[in-house]
């Protein structure tokens, strides 16, 4: 009974934290962009503008709910929900921290579900999020939205392959799909790289790491791969016709996906919640270490967005099929050889 209660508590806390983090990320996006562009950014609502996401949320709720004429009403409403739900659900298997406490001999771990197919879950459920974009683009009955949806479809096919192959390389090394075990393996003393570096997979799989990080940008539709949105060409892409909370849900979905993908990068390649050279680190230290690493990758998302020009649509496809896929395959081959020997 208490175990059930603890699980419910974890669900509430983690989802709540994720949605708040998505809100904070929108603020961070604006503050970081302002910082990069010699501006000040939103700093009026609350200290340092921290309540700005709240104000934005209230604003979105009071905006007019608008469904364009000729739009497929149900799909139009379903799309943003799907986008947000997929991003939120995929966070369920991320191990944020180690052991919290033990109740009646049952260990309570800091993740909603400790699935044995965790990596597969993130890929499968996270991949569903793209349906939100495609459906939203199609159901709007707008040509610009349709372009956005079409681009998103092609982009997903080219990128998820390389991304999954990168995950596969890590899985082949760790011999498990369970994310917590992947973290624990990186933490163990005998996995140290060259005997002194922490046993993070980034040192064993540098190529997979680089490819994976780039693929996360494409996976989350972020700049420089934000073709589905592409405000200067497609006005707003798939969300051109969206307003109010439906629009906000797309944004929550996008930022949650960014957070989940950062979590995945950290879990797979940077030792997750483990602290280098301190295997017995207390729960809170581990959690802090995890959040710190995730924050870095979130910052990377923003940093890249406000620095680089955007790729062209076909350039991205070329890059995906002609560069990343062969590289990822070679990487898998080498990993396979190394593991079997």
């Amino acid at each position: 009974m208490t175990v059930l209660l603890a699980t419910i508590l974890k669900v509430v806390v983690i989802f709540g934290a994720l949605i708040s983090a998505a809100g904070i990320s929108t603020l961070a996006e604006r503050r970081v962009s302002a910082w990069i562009q010699h501006r000040i950014g939103p700093n009026r609502v609350g200290p340092f503008g921290v309540l700005q996401p709240l104000a934005d949320g209230i604003k979105f709720i009071f905006k007019e709910e608008f469904v364009p004429e000729g739009a497929n009403r149900w799909l139009f409403i379903l799309a943003p929900a799907l986008s947000a739900a997929a991003a939120l659900m995929s966070v369920a298997v991320i191990p944020f921290g180690g052991l919290i406490t033990e109740i009646d001999g049952t260990p309570i771990l800091m993740s909603i579900a400790d699935l044995d197919i965790g990596a597969l879950w993130v890929v499968a459920i996270g991949g569903l999020g793209i349906y939100g974009v495609i459906l939203g683009g199609w159901a709007s009955n707008s040509k610009y939205s349709l372009f956005g949806g079409l681009r998103a479809t092609a982009q997903m096919i080219s990128y998820e392959l390389s991304m999954i192959l990168c995950i596969l390389a890590v899985v082949a090394m760790s011999d498990t799909l369970n994310l917590r075990e992947i973290v624990n393996l990186q933490d163990s003393a005998d996995s140290r790289c060259f005997g002194f570096l922490p046993g993070w997979n980034i040192f064993y799989q540098p190529l997979a790491f680089v490819l994976f990080v780039i693929c996360t940008f494409a996976e989350t539709n972020r700049h420089p791969f934000d073709f589905a949105e592409c405000e200067s060409e497609l006005v707003g892409g798939f969300h051109t016709e969206y307003s109010s909370m439906k629009f906000a849900l797309f944004f929550i979905g996008e930022y949650c996906a960014m957070i989940v993908m950062s979590c995945m990068t950290v879990t797979l390649f940077l030792g997750g919640f483990s602290v280098p050279y301190w295997s017995e680190a207390p729960f809170l230290i581990g959690l802090a270490s995890f959040l710190l690493k995730v924050t870095f990758f979130m910052f990377l998302f923003l940093w890249v967005r406000w620095s680089l020009p955007r790729f062209r649509y076909d350039q991205l496809m070329n890059l995906g099929w002609k560069v990343f896929l062969p590289l990822a395959l070679v990487n898998i081959l080498l990993t396979g050889l190394a593991v079997s020997l």
Partner: protein
């Protein structure tokens, strides 16, 4: 009104092109409207395009959404009052337009402009050119997704605004050039900060080059896009950076010097490929050269302190305000000039090298206070005309790159 609307709606709603829609691999071509309110069409240009997937098969630029009848306005307002309207042509460089119009008037009237006024005009024109190129580069970068560049260039433009504000009292739409010279002299103290701006601004340009010129994505997005040959560029009547990018060293400042441009040292950059990347490089280099000219002008202004800034010709130049307030004759004189100043019978053309190309003012007079004809040669119009040539059959993303690299201002196109 309703007829028009229905016609338009039907036209836009037409989705089926001539393509065979039984073939599953080749769907219908879709007619798509880019603009008049589209983020990449810079103002109110409307492109009617026939899209085959992402490829735009046919592009039809539609202009006229900002038409205000400027030429006719000139003919009804009179010679002097049109100055205010020249500001609104290419609203990114009002002072340069002022100078062009003033030169046309002065040529027709045979008016000599004092040296100091000429130098001030050069300084203002080069500053205007920089300000306009800042927008061109910032906006074309923003169209390709480098949004921060837009803020960097606008930041520098803002500082140039401060200088113009200090001199003319306005940020935009300055109207500070008069027939025969300038409205007022420029102060030495302001020249010091002007000189400083020209230096600090160049260090920023170097930083932008690091961010864009060497950037692989930027290079791939621009190299070979919207490529134009010399012959095509000349045939379309292109001038300015767009023409020079194709390798034609045509620059009015060198070829037909005005305002004493022959006394300044500067180079005219020319490109080789004639593509969007070259057009970008032209603008970057022209900003450097403009800063160079502006700094020379500032030195020259220091050498001719206290010189006249307005011609002393009572037929065309207003009397000083002090005299107007203290003498009846001068008041009448001012009234006569403002209400019915006439230019001699004849016609004149003055072309200046604006940031977009050759900005020309053709005026014809029948000896009255009303111009017989005023025609503007707007370089932006040629830049818009060439869009189908450069962009048809290209991807939507390339069309956006072409639009950004051509650098046109709809205020000038529609007039």
């Amino acid at each position: 009104m309703s007829d028009l609307f229905e016609y338009r709606a039907g036209e836009m709603g037409r989705e089926m092109g001539d393509t065979d829609h039984d073939d599953p691999l080749h769907g219908a071509e879709v007619e798509l409207n880019m603009g008049p309110s589209h983020p990449a069409t810079h103002g109110v240009l409307r492109l009617k395009v026939l899209a085959d997937g992402e490829i735009l098969r046919k592009i039809d630029p539609v202009i006229g959404y900002l038409h205000r009848g400027k030429e006719k306005t000139c003919e009804s307002l009179g010679w002097r009052k049109f100055f205010v309207h020249t500001d609104r042509l290419d609203y990114l460089q009002p002072l340069l337009n002022n100078c062009g119009y003033a030169m046309a008037l002065e040529r027709l009237a045979g008016l000599e402009v004092p040296e100091r006024a000429q130098i001030i005009r050069v300084l203002l024109m080069e500053t205007s050119r920089i300000m306009s190129h800042l927008i061109a580069i910032g906006v074309s970068a923003m169209d390709l997704g480098a949004i921060s560049m837009f803020f960097f260039t606008f930041d520098q433009r803002e500082k140039a605004y401060d200088l113009l504000d200090a001199y003319t009292g306005h940020r935009m739409n300055n109207t500070y050039v008069r027939m025969g010279g300038m409205y007022a002299d420029i102060e030495d103290g302001l020249l010091v900060s002007w000189d400083k701006y020209m230096t600090t601004f160049l260090t920023e340009v170097d930083q932008w080059e690091e961010l864009l010129t060497g950037n692989r994505i930027w290079f791939e997005r621009n190299r070979g896009i919207g490529k134009l040959t010399k012959e095509k560029a000349l045939a379309w009547g292109l001038t300015g950076p767009n023409l020079r990018a194709t390798g034609v060293p045509f620059d009015l400042r060198k070829d037909e010097p005005y305002c004493g441009y022959e006394n300044y040292e500067f180079e005219v950059p020319i490109g080789e490929e004639g593509d969007a990347f070259d057009r970008y490089l032209m603008r970057i280099e022209e900003m450097r050269q403009s800063a160079r000219i502006a700094r020379q002008a500032i030195t020259k202004l220091g050498q001719c302190k206290g010189g006249e800034f307005l011609a002393d010709d009572r037929r065309y130049v207003l009397p000083r305000k002090h005299d107007v307030y203290n003498s009846m004759e001068e008041l009448i004189h001012q009234f006569k000039i403002v209400t019915d100043m006439a230019l001699p019978v004849g016609e004149a053309y003055a072309g200046v090298e604006s940031s977009k190309g050759e900005l020309g003012f053709y005026i014809a007079s029948d000896g009255t206070a009303q111009p017989l004809r005023c025609h503007l040669r707007a370089p932006s119009l040629m830049n818009v005309q060439v869009i189908p040539e450069l962009a048809e059959g290209k991807l939507l993303s390339d069309v956006v790159a072409v639009l950004g690299s051509l650098d046109f201002v709809m205020g000038e196109v529609d007039r």
